[in-house]
Symmetry: C2
Subunit: 212 residues, 2 copies
Protein backbone atom coordinates (compact mmCIF):
# COMPACT_ATOMS: atom_id res chain seq x y z
CA UNK A 1 0.00 0.00 0.00
CA UNK A 2 1.30 3.41 -0.88
CA UNK A 3 0.56 6.02 1.76
CA UNK A 4 -1.00 9.15 0.36
CA UNK A 5 0.97 12.23 1.30
CA UNK A 6 -0.98 15.30 2.35
CA UNK A 7 -0.09 18.25 0.09
CA UNK A 8 0.87 21.16 2.34
CA UNK A 9 1.60 24.82 1.66
CA UNK A 10 3.69 26.70 4.22
CA UNK A 11 3.50 30.46 4.80
CA UNK A 12 6.53 31.94 6.56
CA UNK A 13 8.00 35.36 7.13
CA UNK A 14 11.24 34.60 8.93
CA UNK A 15 13.99 32.10 9.40
CA UNK A 16 11.67 29.12 9.03
CA UNK A 17 12.81 26.96 11.89
CA UNK A 18 9.39 25.32 12.11
CA UNK A 19 9.45 24.81 8.36
CA UNK A 20 12.80 23.07 8.73
CA UNK A 21 11.40 20.83 11.46
CA UNK A 22 8.52 19.80 9.18
CA UNK A 23 10.94 19.06 6.36
CA UNK A 24 13.05 16.97 8.73
CA UNK A 25 10.05 15.01 9.98
CA UNK A 26 8.95 14.34 6.40
CA UNK A 27 12.41 13.27 5.28
CA UNK A 28 12.68 10.98 8.30
CA UNK A 29 9.41 9.31 7.31
CA UNK A 30 7.57 10.46 10.41
CA UNK A 31 5.09 12.74 8.68
CA UNK A 32 2.93 11.67 5.73
CA UNK A 33 2.95 15.06 4.08
CA UNK A 34 4.62 16.75 1.18
CA UNK A 35 5.39 20.43 1.23
CA UNK A 36 4.36 21.59 -2.23
CA UNK A 37 5.24 25.25 -1.82
CA UNK A 38 6.61 27.75 0.68
CA UNK A 39 5.33 31.31 0.29
CA UNK A 40 6.66 34.37 2.03
CA UNK A 41 5.64 37.99 2.31
CA UNK A 42 9.31 38.83 2.90
CA UNK A 43 11.50 38.74 -0.18
CA UNK A 44 14.69 37.53 1.50
CA UNK A 45 13.12 35.32 4.19
CA UNK A 46 15.47 32.53 5.17
CA UNK A 47 12.49 30.18 4.95
CA UNK A 48 12.51 30.56 1.14
CA UNK A 49 16.17 29.66 1.04
CA UNK A 50 15.58 26.56 3.15
CA UNK A 51 12.76 25.45 0.85
CA UNK A 52 14.89 25.79 -2.29
CA UNK A 53 17.69 23.84 -0.64
CA UNK A 54 15.25 20.94 -0.29
CA UNK A 55 13.84 21.22 -3.81
CA UNK A 56 10.59 22.78 -2.68
CA UNK A 57 8.94 25.56 -4.72
CA UNK A 58 9.57 28.85 -2.94
CA UNK A 59 7.72 32.05 -3.81
CA UNK A 60 7.78 35.56 -2.57
CA UNK A 61 4.35 37.06 -3.14
CA UNK A 62 4.00 40.78 -2.67
CA UNK A 63 1.73 41.33 0.36
CA UNK A 64 0.69 44.82 -0.73
CA UNK A 65 1.23 48.06 1.14
CA UNK A 66 -0.48 47.26 4.46
CA UNK A 67 1.72 46.40 7.42
CA UNK A 68 -0.16 43.70 9.31
CA UNK A 69 -2.46 42.15 6.70
CA UNK A 70 -2.43 41.14 3.07
CA UNK A 71 -4.51 43.34 0.81
CA UNK A 72 -7.52 41.63 -0.77
CA UNK A 73 -5.64 41.48 -4.07
CA UNK A 74 -2.61 39.96 -2.39
CA UNK A 75 -4.78 37.38 -0.62
CA UNK A 76 -6.17 36.43 -4.02
CA UNK A 77 -2.62 35.83 -5.27
CA UNK A 78 -1.81 33.71 -2.22
CA UNK A 79 -4.99 31.67 -2.71
CA UNK A 80 -4.20 31.18 -6.37
CA UNK A 81 -0.70 30.00 -5.55
CA UNK A 82 -2.02 27.41 -3.09
CA UNK A 83 -4.53 26.26 -5.68
CA UNK A 84 -1.86 25.99 -8.38
CA UNK A 85 0.13 23.71 -6.10
CA UNK A 86 -2.83 21.50 -5.18
CA UNK A 87 -2.40 22.35 -1.51
CA UNK A 88 -4.91 20.78 0.92
CA UNK A 89 -3.52 22.15 4.18
CA UNK A 90 -1.91 25.51 4.94
CA UNK A 91 0.65 25.54 7.75
CA UNK A 92 1.60 28.93 9.08
CA UNK A 93 5.17 28.93 10.33
CA UNK A 94 6.07 32.33 11.64
CA UNK A 95 3.87 34.12 9.12
CA UNK A 96 3.58 37.64 10.43
CA UNK A 97 0.35 38.82 8.81
CA UNK A 98 -3.23 38.32 9.86
CA UNK A 99 -5.22 36.38 7.28
CA UNK A 100 -8.56 37.84 6.31
CA UNK A 101 -11.85 36.71 4.86
CA UNK A 102 -10.76 35.85 1.33
CA UNK A 103 -7.93 33.56 2.36
CA UNK A 104 -9.83 32.05 5.30
CA UNK A 105 -12.91 31.29 3.21
CA UNK A 106 -10.83 29.64 0.49
CA UNK A 107 -9.25 27.26 3.02
CA UNK A 108 -11.92 26.91 5.71
CA UNK A 109 -10.85 24.41 8.39
CA UNK A 110 -7.58 23.80 6.57
CA UNK A 111 -5.22 26.36 8.08
CA UNK A 112 -3.03 25.56 11.08
CA UNK A 113 -0.79 27.78 13.15
CA UNK A 114 1.84 27.18 15.81
CA UNK A 115 2.01 29.70 18.64
CA UNK A 116 4.81 29.85 21.24
CA UNK A 117 2.60 30.10 24.34
CA UNK A 118 -0.18 28.19 26.04
CA UNK A 119 -3.13 29.97 24.48
CA UNK A 120 -5.31 31.76 25.44
CA UNK A 121 -2.41 33.21 27.46
CA UNK A 122 -0.13 35.55 25.53
CA UNK A 123 -1.60 35.75 22.03
CA UNK A 124 0.02 38.00 19.45
CA UNK A 125 3.63 39.00 19.05
CA UNK A 126 6.60 38.03 21.23
CA UNK A 127 4.63 35.52 23.21
CA UNK A 128 7.71 34.08 24.91
CA UNK A 129 8.73 37.53 26.11
CA UNK A 130 5.18 38.26 27.29
CA UNK A 131 5.19 35.03 29.31
CA UNK A 132 8.64 35.66 30.72
CA UNK A 133 7.80 39.19 31.81
CA UNK A 134 4.47 38.14 33.30
CA UNK A 135 6.39 35.71 35.46
CA UNK A 136 4.58 32.46 34.66
CA UNK A 137 6.22 29.25 35.85
CA UNK A 138 4.74 27.16 33.06
CA UNK A 139 4.56 28.23 29.44
CA UNK A 140 4.51 26.18 26.25
CA UNK A 141 3.14 26.14 22.74
CA UNK A 142 -0.10 25.58 20.90
CA UNK A 143 -1.10 24.22 17.49
CA UNK A 144 -4.51 25.52 16.53
CA UNK A 145 -6.83 25.98 13.62
CA UNK A 146 -6.76 29.52 12.32
CA UNK A 147 -9.93 31.59 12.48
CA UNK A 148 -10.59 35.29 12.02
CA UNK A 149 -9.24 36.21 15.47
CA UNK A 150 -5.63 36.52 16.58
CA UNK A 151 -4.57 33.10 17.88
CA UNK A 152 -8.13 32.27 18.89
CA UNK A 153 -9.02 29.20 16.81
CA UNK A 154 -9.76 25.68 18.14
CA UNK A 155 -6.73 24.08 19.81
CA UNK A 156 -5.36 20.79 18.47
CA UNK A 157 -2.32 20.12 20.68
CA UNK A 158 -0.56 22.01 23.45
CA UNK A 159 2.72 21.20 25.15
CA UNK A 160 3.81 22.72 28.44
CA UNK A 161 7.33 23.90 29.14
CA UNK A 162 8.70 24.89 32.58
CA UNK A 163 10.06 28.39 33.10
CA UNK A 164 13.20 28.28 35.25
CA UNK A 165 14.47 30.93 37.61
CA UNK A 166 17.69 31.29 35.62
CA UNK A 167 15.90 31.54 32.27
CA UNK A 168 16.24 34.41 29.85
CA UNK A 169 13.75 35.11 27.08
CA UNK A 170 16.22 33.40 24.75
CA UNK A 171 16.67 30.22 26.79
CA UNK A 172 12.93 29.93 27.36
CA UNK A 173 12.23 30.49 23.65
CA UNK A 174 14.72 27.78 22.76
CA UNK A 175 13.08 25.26 25.10
CA UNK A 176 9.62 26.12 23.73
CA UNK A 177 10.88 25.82 20.15
CA UNK A 178 11.87 22.19 20.68
CA UNK A 179 8.30 21.42 21.65
CA UNK A 180 6.94 23.46 18.75
CA UNK A 181 8.91 21.29 16.35
CA UNK A 182 7.50 18.15 17.91
CA UNK A 183 3.81 19.07 18.22
CA UNK A 184 3.46 20.82 14.86
CA UNK A 185 4.46 17.67 13.01
CA UNK A 186 2.22 15.63 15.30
CA UNK A 187 -0.78 17.85 14.58
CA UNK A 188 -0.22 17.80 10.82
CA UNK A 189 0.09 14.02 10.92
CA UNK A 190 -3.26 13.82 12.74
CA UNK A 191 -4.79 16.10 10.11
CA UNK A 192 -3.27 13.94 7.34
CA UNK A 193 -4.82 10.85 8.92
CA UNK A 194 -8.23 12.57 9.07
CA UNK A 195 -8.37 12.18 12.85
CA UNK A 196 -9.27 15.73 13.89
CA UNK A 197 -12.91 16.41 14.62
CA UNK A 198 -13.95 19.92 15.67
CA UNK A 199 -16.91 20.17 18.06
CA UNK A 200 -17.61 23.82 18.79
CA UNK A 201 -14.35 25.05 20.27
CA UNK A 202 -13.03 21.60 21.14
CA UNK A 203 -10.91 19.49 18.86
CA UNK A 204 -11.37 15.76 19.43
CA UNK A 205 -8.65 13.39 18.28
CA UNK A 206 -10.19 10.21 16.94
CA UNK A 207 -8.53 6.82 17.23
CA UNK A 208 -5.71 5.94 19.62
CA UNK A 209 -4.91 8.83 21.91
CA UNK A 210 -1.85 10.96 21.33
CA UNK A 211 -0.46 12.73 24.40
CA UNK A 212 0.47 16.40 23.90
CA UNK B 1 16.72 22.12 67.00
CA UNK B 2 13.05 22.93 67.13
CA UNK B 3 11.71 24.04 63.77
CA UNK B 4 9.68 27.20 63.95
CA UNK B 5 6.23 26.72 62.53
CA UNK B 6 4.81 29.50 60.37
CA UNK B 7 1.51 30.74 61.84
CA UNK B 8 -1.08 30.65 59.05
CA UNK B 9 -4.65 31.93 58.80
CA UNK B 10 -6.90 30.35 56.21
CA UNK B 11 -9.89 32.07 54.60
CA UNK B 12 -12.40 29.74 53.01
CA UNK B 13 -15.97 29.93 51.75
CA UNK B 14 -16.70 26.36 50.75
CA UNK B 15 -15.95 22.74 51.43
CA UNK B 16 -12.31 23.43 52.23
CA UNK B 17 -10.62 20.67 50.28
CA UNK B 18 -7.44 22.73 49.99
CA UNK B 19 -7.64 23.47 53.71
CA UNK B 20 -7.84 19.74 54.35
CA UNK B 21 -4.79 19.13 52.16
CA UNK B 22 -2.81 21.71 54.16
CA UNK B 23 -3.88 20.10 57.42
CA UNK B 24 -2.84 16.69 56.08
CA UNK B 25 0.57 17.98 54.95
CA UNK B 26 1.13 19.57 58.37
CA UNK B 27 0.06 16.47 60.26
CA UNK B 28 2.34 14.35 58.07
CA UNK B 29 5.28 16.60 58.97
CA UNK B 30 5.75 17.83 55.41
CA UNK B 31 4.82 21.47 56.02
CA UNK B 32 6.39 23.58 58.77
CA UNK B 33 3.26 25.60 59.41
CA UNK B 34 0.53 25.77 61.96
CA UNK B 35 -2.98 26.82 61.02
CA UNK B 36 -3.96 29.15 63.82
CA UNK B 37 -7.42 30.02 62.57
CA UNK B 38 -9.86 29.34 59.73
CA UNK B 39 -12.24 32.16 58.94
CA UNK B 40 -15.25 32.00 56.66
CA UNK B 41 -17.73 34.46 55.24
CA UNK B 42 -20.25 31.60 55.03
CA UNK B 43 -21.78 30.54 58.33
CA UNK B 44 -22.14 26.84 57.56
CA UNK B 45 -19.05 26.41 55.38
CA UNK B 46 -17.75 22.86 55.57
CA UNK B 47 -14.26 24.34 55.96
CA UNK B 48 -15.18 25.54 59.47
CA UNK B 49 -16.33 22.05 60.40
CA UNK B 50 -13.07 20.56 59.15
CA UNK B 51 -11.06 23.05 61.18
CA UNK B 52 -12.94 22.27 64.39
CA UNK B 53 -12.47 18.57 63.81
CA UNK B 54 -8.72 19.17 63.89
CA UNK B 55 -8.80 21.44 66.93
CA UNK B 56 -8.25 24.62 64.92
CA UNK B 57 -10.07 27.83 65.83
CA UNK B 58 -12.89 28.34 63.35
CA UNK B 59 -14.74 31.62 63.00
CA UNK B 60 -17.56 32.86 60.86
CA UNK B 61 -17.14 36.61 60.46
CA UNK B 62 -20.03 38.50 58.93
CA UNK B 63 -18.82 39.84 55.57
CA UNK B 64 -21.39 42.61 55.49
CA UNK B 65 -24.11 43.17 52.91
CA UNK B 66 -22.04 43.31 49.70
CA UNK B 67 -22.00 40.25 47.47
CA UNK B 68 -18.43 40.07 46.13
CA UNK B 69 -16.36 42.00 48.65
CA UNK B 70 -16.11 42.49 52.38
CA UNK B 71 -17.24 45.90 53.60
CA UNK B 72 -14.49 48.05 55.09
CA UNK B 73 -15.86 47.33 58.56
CA UNK B 74 -15.86 43.61 57.85
CA UNK B 75 -12.29 43.78 56.54
CA UNK B 76 -11.31 45.39 59.81
CA UNK B 77 -12.84 42.48 61.71
CA UNK B 78 -10.98 39.98 59.53
CA UNK B 79 -7.71 41.85 60.04
CA UNK B 80 -8.28 41.95 63.79
CA UNK B 81 -8.96 38.23 63.90
CA UNK B 82 -5.71 37.49 62.05
CA UNK B 83 -3.84 39.79 64.43
CA UNK B 84 -5.43 38.13 67.48
CA UNK B 85 -4.18 34.78 66.26
CA UNK B 86 -0.65 35.99 65.50
CA UNK B 87 -1.01 35.03 61.85
CA UNK B 88 1.98 35.75 59.59
CA UNK B 89 0.63 34.31 56.36
CA UNK B 90 -2.90 34.31 54.96
CA UNK B 91 -3.80 31.39 52.70
CA UNK B 92 -6.95 31.80 50.65
CA UNK B 93 -8.59 28.45 50.04
CA UNK B 94 -11.71 28.92 48.00
CA UNK B 95 -12.48 32.28 49.55
CA UNK B 96 -15.10 33.81 47.28
CA UNK B 97 -14.68 37.52 48.03
CA UNK B 98 -12.25 40.02 46.58
CA UNK B 99 -9.98 41.49 49.25
CA UNK B 100 -9.65 45.25 49.25
CA UNK B 101 -7.22 47.89 50.41
CA UNK B 102 -7.60 47.55 54.16
CA UNK B 103 -6.97 43.81 54.26
CA UNK B 104 -4.27 43.91 51.57
CA UNK B 105 -2.36 46.72 53.29
CA UNK B 106 -2.46 44.95 56.65
CA UNK B 107 -0.89 41.81 55.15
CA UNK B 108 1.19 43.16 52.27
CA UNK B 109 3.19 40.39 50.58
CA UNK B 110 1.70 37.84 53.00
CA UNK B 111 -1.41 36.62 51.23
CA UNK B 112 -1.40 33.59 48.93
CA UNK B 113 -4.10 32.17 46.72
CA UNK B 114 -4.52 28.95 44.78
CA UNK B 115 -6.30 29.20 41.42
CA UNK B 116 -7.46 26.20 39.37
CA UNK B 117 -6.03 27.32 36.00
CA UNK B 118 -2.73 28.29 34.47
CA UNK B 119 -2.95 32.03 34.99
CA UNK B 120 -3.17 34.45 33.26
CA UNK B 121 -5.56 32.13 31.39
CA UNK B 122 -9.01 31.82 32.94
CA UNK B 123 -8.99 34.11 35.97
CA UNK B 124 -12.12 34.49 38.05
CA UNK B 125 -14.88 32.02 38.74
CA UNK B 126 -15.28 28.49 37.41
CA UNK B 127 -11.82 28.44 35.90
CA UNK B 128 -11.93 24.71 35.18
CA UNK B 129 -15.18 25.12 33.24
CA UNK B 130 -13.78 28.12 31.38
CA UNK B 131 -10.73 26.07 30.35
CA UNK B 132 -12.83 23.06 29.37
CA UNK B 133 -15.19 25.11 27.24
CA UNK B 134 -12.35 27.03 25.60
CA UNK B 135 -10.95 23.68 24.51
CA UNK B 136 -7.41 23.92 25.87
CA UNK B 137 -5.37 20.72 25.89
CA UNK B 138 -3.29 21.75 28.88
CA UNK B 139 -4.65 23.41 31.99
CA UNK B 140 -3.42 23.36 35.57
CA UNK B 141 -3.24 25.47 38.68
CA UNK B 142 -1.37 28.44 40.08
CA UNK B 143 -0.25 29.57 43.53
CA UNK B 144 0.25 33.33 43.54
CA UNK B 145 0.60 36.29 45.84
CA UNK B 146 -2.62 38.24 46.10
CA UNK B 147 -2.69 41.81 44.88
CA UNK B 148 -5.54 44.21 44.20
CA UNK B 149 -6.48 42.56 40.88
CA UNK B 150 -8.42 39.37 40.32
CA UNK B 151 -5.90 36.51 40.19
CA UNK B 152 -3.19 38.85 38.89
CA UNK B 153 -0.47 38.75 41.56
CA UNK B 154 3.08 37.37 41.16
CA UNK B 155 3.13 33.63 40.48
CA UNK B 156 4.97 31.30 42.86
CA UNK B 157 4.33 27.84 41.43
CA UNK B 158 2.27 26.48 38.56
CA UNK B 159 1.53 22.88 37.68
CA UNK B 160 0.21 21.76 34.32
CA UNK B 161 -2.49 19.15 33.88
CA UNK B 162 -3.49 17.52 30.57
CA UNK B 163 -7.06 17.84 29.33
CA UNK B 164 -8.25 14.56 27.81
CA UNK B 165 -10.75 14.06 25.04
CA UNK B 166 -13.03 12.07 27.34
CA UNK B 167 -12.84 14.60 30.18
CA UNK B 168 -15.83 16.30 31.73
CA UNK B 169 -15.57 19.50 33.78
CA UNK B 170 -15.77 17.26 36.86
CA UNK B 171 -13.00 14.85 35.86
CA UNK B 172 -10.74 17.72 34.80
CA UNK B 173 -11.43 19.57 38.05
CA UNK B 174 -10.57 16.45 40.03
CA UNK B 175 -7.23 16.05 38.25
CA UNK B 176 -6.40 19.73 38.77
CA UNK B 177 -7.36 19.50 42.45
CA UNK B 178 -4.73 16.83 43.09
CA UNK B 179 -2.08 19.23 41.82
CA UNK B 180 -3.56 22.11 43.82
CA UNK B 181 -3.14 20.08 46.99
CA UNK B 182 0.49 19.41 46.15
CA UNK B 183 1.66 22.86 45.02
CA UNK B 184 -0.17 24.88 47.66
CA UNK B 185 1.68 23.08 50.46
CA UNK B 186 4.92 23.39 48.48
CA UNK B 187 4.49 27.15 48.08
CA UNK B 188 3.64 27.69 51.75
CA UNK B 189 6.68 25.64 52.75
CA UNK B 190 8.86 27.87 50.53
CA UNK B 191 7.33 30.93 52.16
CA UNK B 192 7.91 29.42 55.63
CA UNK B 193 11.56 28.86 54.72
CA UNK B 194 11.90 32.48 53.59
CA UNK B 195 12.90 31.39 50.10
CA UNK B 196 10.54 33.51 47.99
CA UNK B 197 11.97 36.70 46.53
CA UNK B 198 9.70 38.92 44.41
CA UNK B 199 11.40 40.86 41.61
CA UNK B 200 8.79 42.94 39.81
CA UNK B 201 6.30 40.37 38.57
CA UNK B 202 8.66 37.41 38.89
CA UNK B 203 9.01 35.27 41.98
CA UNK B 204 12.47 33.79 42.39
CA UNK B 205 12.89 30.70 44.56
CA UNK B 206 16.14 30.88 46.46
CA UNK B 207 18.17 27.84 47.39
CA UNK B 208 17.86 24.40 45.79
CA UNK B 209 15.38 24.44 42.94
CA UNK B 210 11.91 22.98 43.36
CA UNK B 211 10.20 21.81 40.20
CA UNK B 212 6.55 22.86 39.86
Amino acid sequence: MITRRLPVGVLASGRGSNLQALIDHIEAGRLDAEIRVVVSDVKDAQALERARRHGIDACYIDPGPRRTILTAEAEERYVQCMRDHGVELIALAGFMRILKERFLAAHAGRILNIHPALLPSFPGLQAQRQAFEYGVKVSGCTVHFVDAGIDTGPIIIQASVPVRDDDTVASLSERILEEEHRIYAEAIQLFAEGRLRVEGRRVIIEGPRVEG
